[in-house]
């Protein structure tokens, strides 16, 4: 049991955050606070995705050629070498040979070797896809928050209150034909 919990430790704060957000949405009568709860709920879902993306021992998912200072002449060659390096990571020595083969002169060959060495370390990448998905989800969340708050502003203009009970009372008086 303890082992299961410790393996999945990251999910515990996420679940707490999620339930807090959902509870705030349900329990509060204040429309702005409800939006805060909703944001919290959405954020916790983003965290699930981000937690899944982490690969233990994985490097940031960046291609090696982007590490160097700009792209000198012959970058195409060295990057080609680095690409091979990513593919054949087990055979470090082979990579160095290949990289020096591909480099057009000594200087570039050295650079290619350094790329290849970087690449050899970075055999394992963290998964970038969930991050991209969550960027989209964050945008959606921001838009939802904006629309929600705009509605709250309009509700306040129309009713003069943002408390749920008072709003229900005002609507009920309309439905029963009473005075507002």
């Amino acid at each position: 049991m303890l082992e299961i919990i410790s393996e999945r430790f990251v999910y515990i704060p996420i679940i707490i955050l999620m339930m807090t957000g959902l509870y705030v949405v349900i329990s509060t009568g204040n429309l702005v606070k409800r939006m805060v709860g909703l944001s919290l709920f959405q954020t916790s879902v983003s965290l699930i995705y981000i937690a899944v993306a982490k690969v233990f021992g994985g490097a940031p998912p960046i291609l090696p050629e982007a590490h160097g200072e700009g792209y000198p002449d012959g970058a195409a060659d060295s990057s080609a070498g680095a690409d091979h390096a990513v593919v054949q990571t087990d055979h470090g020595s082979q990579i160095v040979e290949m990289a020096s083969d591909h480099g057009s002169d000594a200087g570039h060959a050295a650079e290619a070797v350094s790329h290849a060495v970087d690449a050899a370390h970075a055999t394992l990448y963290s998964n970038p896809l969930p991050h991209v998905l969550i960027l989209t989800a964050i945008v959606v969340g921001v838009a939802t928050l904006a629309v929600g708050l705009a509605l709250v502003v309009r509700i306040r203009e129309a009713y003069g209150t943002i408390e749920d009970d008072a709003l229900n009372a005002a609507d009920y008086s309309v439905e029963t034909g009473g005075t507002e």
């Binding site: 949405v25 709920f41 959405q42 699930i48 899944v52 939802t144 629309v147 929600g148 509605l151 309309v174």
Partner: protein, 509 residues
């Protein structure tokens, strides 16, 4: 006709039709927003709707020719890229959205200029186009996360559209706010479910997910994902008991918005549910999906159709009444889905299309009454049969179709539903369908009695002269009302379409 239209269309457009159908309304939306004229906004919406109709026709021809069309977004093929996929299941839904959208745009010009402040009209049409594009996107995409994005695109536009009803009744604002809260919770549940599926399969492409799940079998993660997706999409589809947002939203939105949403939005969510259940999970391999069919969809569908019908009987606002009736109709579709056989799924899909036609007519007719008279209570309908006969006849035809009287499409879909239920031998469900139809008779009869039996409305002591809604309201309304009868006598196109769709998803794996 399709061949003729396709022969006039450039090849590039035919090749990119699956993406253009979504992207063009999306591109037109900001254009409609920046031109400060309601009429220009309307023209742009009309262009968008016509274009979507055109693309839907071309897709019809393409699917008839090739079977399934897959469009790889940006040339990145599946499973890495996003794929748009048109097959026998979503083609009818696309055609439905396109047709209803086009008819509703005609209907929009008179009602929107009546109900919406002229300064807000361009933004209103812009929001409509975004909603339109979002619904089409949900229908056409083959990528699970893409479904979420389009659901949110259409929902955010819907919140704005419903809130536009505030010009007439401020309750539209609270209705929209409540829908926003619930809709966002639903969409977030859905995205949790998609996340779990991604954890289990490592892919977002639905077909690829199905393949990997079939190989690896189901775990608790995929079961949890199923529960989250059903709750999330069920909320969007107004599946009982997740329907609480719907009555207020439909009752207070502008009448054009109600007519459009009632016949498309919940239908699209229901389609997405079918797509996830059959396109990702294989019900015959997954015991828990079969359990869900019986204990969630069938049972909840039956309870929903009875409960919501009873609630509808006691409503005083005609639009709220019809909104509760919509919840009951979703119950029929859920029952059809819950049967778990091809007949049931075909009946559910047939009812999906038929209900869109009926509710579209009913809400359009109510909107037509609303142009001349404020309709907030059933008693406001008194005597309108003499004052506005055309709209009253359309309302009557669609009303009896909703009850399921023979000679209307309501009868056709209930007939097929009952046949499918009998195949499973669920007598209690047959009884529930019949009781719910009788309740429908009760609430429709209340409104029809007010329209035809009561004295016509009085103004200054004498009856109001006979009046007529603008032809742009009458034409789409009459067309839909005619469809209510026409597709009873010529049921074959719709029925065979539903059966083909059901067969395609059932055999697809």
């Amino acid at each position: 006709m399709i061949d003729f239209i396709a022969s006039l269309t450039p090849d590039a457009i035919i090749r990119h039709a699956p993406v253009l159908i979504v992207v063009l309304p999306l591109i037109l939306a900001p254009i409609a927003a920046i031109i400060p004229s309601g009429r220009a906004g309307w023209s742009i919406s009309l262009i968008g709707a016509l274009f979507v109709g055109w693309m839907a026709l071309i897709l019809f021809g393409q699917v008839a020719e090739h079977g399934v069309i897959e469009y790889a977004m940006g040339g990145w093929s599946a499973p890495l890229g996003i794929v748009y996929r048109v097959d026998a299941l979503n083609l009818p839904v696309l055609a439905l959205i396109g047709t209803i959208g086009l008819l509703c745009v005609f209907y929009a010009l008179p009602t929107v200029s009546d109900e919406i402040d002229s300064k807000q009209q361009p933004l209103f049409y812009s929001a409509f186009l975004i909603c339109f594009a979002g619904l089409l996107g949900v229908t056409i995409t083959g990528d699970a996360f893409n479904v979420f994005v389009f659901v949110e695109i259409s929902s955010l536009a819907t919140y704005a559209l419903i809130a536009m009803g505030a010009g007439k009744d401020r309750r539209a604002l609270t209705a929209s706010y409540n829908y926003l809260i619930l809709g966002t919770i639903g969409a977030t549940f859905f995205v949790i479910g998609v996340g779990f599926l991604y954890m289990a399969t490592g892919t977002l492409n639905m077909a690829d997910m199905a393949r990997i799940l079939a190989e690896n079998g189901h775990t608790r993660v995929t079961q949890a994902a199923f529960a989250f997706i059903v709750v999330g999409l069920g909320l969007k589809a107004a599946m009982f008991p997740l329907h609480v947002w719907l009555p207020n939203a439909y009752a207070n939105a502008p009448s054009f918005v109600t007519a459009f949403l009632a016949s498309t939005a919940t239908k699209v969510a229901f389609y997405a549910l079918i797509r996830f259940i059959y396109g990702v999970y294989h019900p015959e391999d997954a015991h828990f999906v079969m359990m869900a069919f019986t204990w969630v969809f069938a049972v909840v569908g039956v309870i929903g159709m009875l409960f919501a019908s009873v609630q509808a009987v006691f409503q005083t606002d005609p639009r709220r009444l019809l909104a509760y009736s919509s919840v009951a109709q979703v119950g029929y579709m859920m029952l059809g889905l819950g049967l778990g056989n091809a007949l049931g799924l075909a009946a559910a899909l047939l009812h999906l299309v038929n209900h869109a036609i009926m509710k579209g007519t009913l809400f359009m007719a109510l909107g037509a009454f609303g142009l001349k008279f404020g309709i907030r209570r059933i008693s406001d309908l008194n005597g309108l049969g003499r004052t506005m006969p055309a709209a009253a006849i359309a309302f009557t035809v669609a009303g009896i179709s909703l009850v399921g009287v023979p000679l209307t499409i309501g009868f056709t879909s209930k007939w097929y539903l009952i046949l499918a239920v009998l195949e499973r031998g669920w007598w209690w469900a047959v009884a529930a369908v019949i009781i719910s139809s009788l309740l429908a008779l009760a609430y429709i009869a209340r409104m029809l009695a007010a329209i035809w039996m009561e004295d016509s409305p009085q103004r200054d002591g004498k009856p109001v002269a006979r009046t007529r809604a603008p032809w742009m309201v009458l034409a789409p309304m009459s067309l839909l009302a005619f469809a209510n009868v026409y597709f009873f006598f010529n049921a074959d196109p719709l029925v065979s379409m539903a059966q083909r769709a059901a067969a395609a998803v059932m055999v697809g794996h």
